[in-house]
């Protein structure tokens, strides 16, 4: 049975998605992934009837196409995870949300512990046994000003044999609140899926809405969104470089980068009033349209910040004590990154040539896009260097946008949404690919609103990278990924 294919932010009538028998559904996924495609989404559709409809989306990064197909399942089905590790979290989610058991799943425990189910923390943890094995339990409340999660290390001496990351503490019902919308709260909820990725998730939401409404934003609005998205990337990347320097006690770079992160956030605030970009991206375009002198001012300040960022980064790369801690630490191999479906700078630092800005063309980058940097070594140093190269590429791109920031109305009205349709909205946020999957009902309301934050794919990659590492390197390794708790927990 042929599968349906869509492009990024292009709606598809629901009826076009083939419903297969379970064996064919499994085969389509396994053969697709074996042939170089990527599991973009796997999940149950609400409301569940007598049978739950599972939907799978396979991304063909080279063709920029996404294959969609479904199967109905009641009770259980043979798990895909043993043959397709990227399905690991998706299948746990299916089990948690619908009670459908993927039989043979190697570690079937709750993902987010929603109300009415098991109490959070009250679950089995992966155990390593043997002489002198000990466990270290950290969290949910951590030492820093950071979101909550529980980390369980199984160690021999200082060597970590296995790390289990148990999340769900931030679960606050984002997807359920988006369902049946759009409501007046919806865009604000999107902005708070992960507060440090306000722009990324807001664009993903608006792009989905606009695709379903069949409207195109003006070039001006798209250019402003691209500015917002890249400023968000630069601010978070430089902030993380500073935090990485701080984690190995290299305080000069930590201080400079901390200040520079704020300088970039202030540029966003200059353009929309909020350092995190709240209230900037809105359905139909953007809420703020800066006059030319304000854009010129931002460009000038960005150039000054770039010089100081370069100075701080070079200080880091030239510090042998810093490099000694960064290099060969917590390697995520290319193979593991591919098998786990890792995304974003963490995947690119392991040589995975994947970036939604290039692979899944979208209205946002109508004229051009930042160059894609690809690393190789997959260690903490590679992930740090990856951040810096992405900063450089984003600034070069921003200067092109500032040269010609487009024309047209900043915002247009959004009409009613296409009924009985599905749209996939992909945005390359600073952590990686954000996916919003929206399904409308017969009246054009959201029958289904699913969010896959890049962290959902990458948390397990962090756990794998920590194997055989010294436990003292965990804060460093963790920061080199800097994943979102709330983006995962929703």
């Amino acid at each position: 049975m042929p599968i349906a294919t869509v492009r990024n932010a292009a709606p598809l009538p629901l009826a076009a998605i083939p419903v297969m028998a379970m064996p064919a559904f499994r085969r389509a996924i396994l053969e697709g992934v074996g042939g170089g495609r990527r599991l973009l989404f796997l999940g149950g559709m609400v409301p569940p009837g007598a049978a739950t409809r599972l939907l799978a989306a396979l991304a063909d990064d080279r063709a920029g196409e996404i294959g969609l197909f479904a199967a109905d399942v009641a009770g259980s089905y043979p798990a895909l995870t043993p043959e397709c590790p990227a399905a690991h979290y998706f299948e746990r989610e299916i089990f948690e949300q619908f009670g459908i058991e993927p039989t043979g799943h190697p570690w079937l425990k709750p993902v987010r512990f929603p109300p009415g189910g098991a109490t959070i923390g009250n679950a089995d943890f992966f155990a390593v046994s043997g002489e002198e094995i000990h466990e270290v339990a950290v969290g949910p409340v951590h030492a820093g000003v950071i979101e909550p999660g529980h980390f369980r290390f199984s160690c021999h001496g200082e060597r970590v044999l296995h790390l289990e990351i148990a999340l769900g503490y931030q679960h606050r019902g984002v997807e359920a609140a988006l369902r049946d919308g759009p409501y007046k709260t919806s865009v604000h909820l999107a902005e708070t899926v992960a507060g440090d990725t306000t722009i990324g998730h807001a664009i993903a939401y608006c792009q989905a809405l606009e695709a379903l409404a069949g409207i195109e934003c003006s070039q001006r609005a798209l250019a402003l969104r691209a500015v917002a998205l890249e400023l968000e990337r630069i601010a978070n990347h430089i902030g993380d470089l500073g935090a990485l320097a701080g984690d190995v006690g290299f305080l000069p770079a930590a201080a400079y980068c901390g200040r520079l992160r704020g300088d970039i956030l202030n540029l966003t605030a200059e353009l929309c009033g909020s350092r995190l970009g709240r209230g900037w991206v809105r359905p139909g375009g953007t809420a703020h349209d800066p006059p030319p002198d304000r854009l010129a001012n931002v460009r000038r300040r960005l150039a000054a910040a770039e010089r100081d960022m370069r100075n701080a980064a070079e200080l880091m790369w030239k510090s042998s004590s810093l490099r000694a801690r960064f290099e060969t630490t917590a390697i995520l191999t290319h193979q593991a990154a591919v098998e786990l479906g890792a995304v974003g700078p963490a995947a690119r630092a392991s040589g995975v040539d994947r970036d939604a800005r290039r692979d899944f063309p979208q209205p946002l980058f109508f004229r051009g896009r930042p160059a894609v940097a690809i690393g190789n070594d997959g260690d903490v140093f590679a992930r740090a260097m990856q951040r810096w190269r992405e900063i450089e590429n984003s600034i070069a791109f921003l200067n092109e946008v500032f040269d010609d920031p487009g024309a047209g109305p900043a915002r247009q009205p959004v009409g009613s949404l296409m009924p009985d349709a599905l749209v996939l909205s992909l945005v390359e946020g600073w952590r990686g690919e954000i996916v919003h999957l929206v399904v409308t009902d017969a009246t054009g309301r959201f029958a289904q609103y699913r969010i896959v934050d890049p962290s959902f794919r990458n948390w397990f990659a962090l756990a794998i990278a920590m194997r055989d590492q010294a436990i003292l390197d965990f804060p460093l390794c963790n920061k080199s990924f800097n994943l979102s708790y709330c983006g995962h927990d929703l």
């Binding site: 409340v141 000003v145 931030q170 606050r172 704020g262 209230g279 100075n311």
Partner: protein
């Protein structure tokens, strides 16, 4: 070493002039809202309809805006046909009492400084444990920014510490998810008495955007005794700093009777 010193000279001195001078805020900054009920048109409720969080209610005297629920999104002032609601650039938003956060005119919420004995204990050295209880990492990153060289809260003796055992109080963010409720209460219990509770951001004060969700407790209200409310979504770092300094009696001198 030489390169490090050279970089230090190049990067310069960056700590802000706040408190000596007012903070530098962008032209579009959305701070304390003001309401001018005289401008309201009879029968108009456009602002109430536009508000995504139910922060606005219509009383007999005009609209009332609850800063504890407001996410400073600007939808109300955009919807208002007469400019009766506007967001000023005033960063001072913190209040001591939940009721203080109800805006009906151009007045600013007030912070009562701690009593003399507490100020003697923590006035020049306040150590806080931050607990994120469902926060989206918006309030958290802005609280974290207090530690950078620009805001440099440690100038005033204010620092975040790793353990509640080392803390004088907790700064809570997030709507208090059911999954974080126990951890939040345990962390609070671990702080030695006397201990302060600071609720930062709309979520921690009222549940914010997440109010009414089955997964959350609508903020700390009713769970913990709050000493300071800091509105915002998220509050600007200088708003947090201003609230803390007022609580410590370092700005203004309205001393709570004790």
């Amino acid at each position: 070493m030489f390169k490090t010193l050279l970089a230090r000279a190049r990067q310069g001195y960056r700590t802000g002039a706040y408190l000596k001078e007012d903070p530098v805020l962008p032209a579009l900054f959305r701070g304390r809202p003001e309401i001018d009920p005289a401008r309201c048109v009879a029968g108009c409720a456009d602002c109430i309809a536009a508000c995504p969080t139910g922060a606005l209610t219509l009383g007999e005297a005009g609209p009332a805006l609850d800063l504890g629920r407001c996410i400073f999104c600007d939808e109300c002032s955009t919807a208002c046909p007469t400019g009766a609601i506007s967001f000023t650039r005033d960063w001072r938003l913190a209040g001591s009492h939940r009721d203080d956060l109800l805006v009906t005119d151009a007045a600013r919420p007030q912070v009562e400084a701690l009593g003399r004995e507490l100020r003697r204990l923590v006035g020049r050295s306040l150590r806080l444990r931050q607990v994120s209880a469902g926060g989206c990492n918006g309030c958290e990153v802005e609280a974290n920014a207090l530690g950078n060289v620009v805001f440099d809260a440690s100038r005033f003796g204010i620092e975040f510490v790793a353990s509640p055992r080392h803390a004088d109080g907790i700064l809570v963010t997030g709507p208090v998810t059911g999954n974080m409720r126990a951890a939040l209460l345990i962390t609070y219990e671990a702080v030695a008495d006397p201990r302060l509770v600071i609720a930062a951001g709309a979520c921690a004060i009222s549940g914010g955007l997440y109010r009414g969700h089955a997964e959350v407790a609508d903020g700390v209200e009713g769970l913990l005794p709050v000493d300071l409310y800091i509105p915002g979504c998220p509050p600007h770092p200088v708003t947090v700093l201003d609230g803390l300094l007022r609580l410590l009696g370092r700005i203004g001198h309205q001393v709570r009777g004790r």
